[in-house]
């Protein structure tokens, strides 16, 4: 993965998220940055004022704090798995690179491990990975 495009993509995602907070004024009659789901619920109330929900949630978080705890938990589970995969993948690639036979040209012959700098000294374990 090339460094620059990756950084630009990250910057674009952050900007797309932060700019609305900064630039957009929420309509006066509604709370700023409430959920779209709740707005749809209000719209149902306008279109069909007589409609009554016929089923209630089996369990409701006791407060907004508890709800945000559960959302954070959900995100943490997801991010944890992704972090595990990314860490494993990076380490695996480094081990492979260290274990690869050194190129024969003179420049690389000097000190093959110097090329990878501070990355892991080539240990017996490192060499064992295929």
């Amino acid at each position: 993965m090339k460094k620059l495009p990756t950084l630009l993509l990250c910057a674009a995602i952050v900007l797309l998220t932060v700019l609305p907070l900064w630039l957009v004024r929420a309509p006066a009659e509604q709370a700023a940055f409430g959920g779209a789901d709740a707005r749809a619920q209000e719209a149902i109330g306008v279109i069909a004022p007589s409609y009554k929900p016929w089923f209630a949630p089996v369990f409701e978080p006791a407060s907004d704090e508890i709800a945000s705890l559960l959302f954070a938990l959900q995100a943490a589970i997801g991010a944890g798995v992704i972090g595990y995969w990314l860490g494993l993948s990076v380490a695996r690639e480094r081990l492979r690179r260290d274990a690869a036979p050194a190129p024969v040209n003179a420049a690389a012959e000097a000190r093959p491990s110097a090329a990878v700098g501070t990355v892991m000294p080539s240990s017996p374990q490192a060499n064992r990975v295929d």
Binding site: M1, T6, L9, C10, A12, I13, L16, T17, P20, L21, V24, R25, A26, P27, Q30, A32, F33, G34, G35, A36, D37, R39, A40, Q41, A43, I44, I47, A48, Y51, P53, W54, F55, A56, P57, V58, F59, E60, P61, A67, L70, F71, A72, Q74, A75, I77, G78, A79, G80, V81, I82, W85, L86, S89, V90, R92, E93
Partner: protein, 224 residues
Amino acid sequence: MHIMEGFLPPMHALGWTAASLPFLAWGLRAIGRDLRTHPERRMLLGVAAAFAFLLSALKLPSVTGSCSHPTGVGLGAALFGPAAMVPVGFVVLLFQALLMAHGGLTTLGANVFSMAIVGPLVSYGVLRGVGALGLSRSVAVFLAACLGDLATYVTTSAQLALAFPATVGGFEVSFLKFAGIFAVTQVPIAISEGLLTVLVVNAMVRFNAHELRALPVMALKERA
């Protein structure tokens, strides 16, 4: 895109549940078969599921002054096909319905249909279509995730408009109202999801080319 608990009339709730069930069975079979023939894909499937967990928990601000969340299922659909993401989306939505009072059990069928069926199908279709046009992998993955995300919210709008047609103007007027709430809010969020999915796919192609071989995403060109 979560239709709240009890906010679909019973016949609609039942209808969407009946429509979603065969897809769920199809998805479970497809995942089972895929992992039996390619056990090395287990971890990447886990990452795709984790991505959906993570993204659907993040409510992001948008240009309409309200918040909504990406779905995260475009990644898995682009990699493993649309069937694999049906059970994943189902688990995410069930978790939110049971623990967070977000969405609901009576509306689970309708929410699964929009987020775990229509979204992934559109993502996969866009990936193949854009790939066939000869555009690069990044463009195909971006459009797949972005348009799949939007399709989910358009579907939710249609579901609500079907259940609550306006007294004057009927389905069409209602649809435009709900789409104004959901789909417009979703535009920048869908773009973010597209970009994020490109980042993850780039990393996977770099680190997991072996596990991904023979999948359609690897057949796409690095550059157009």
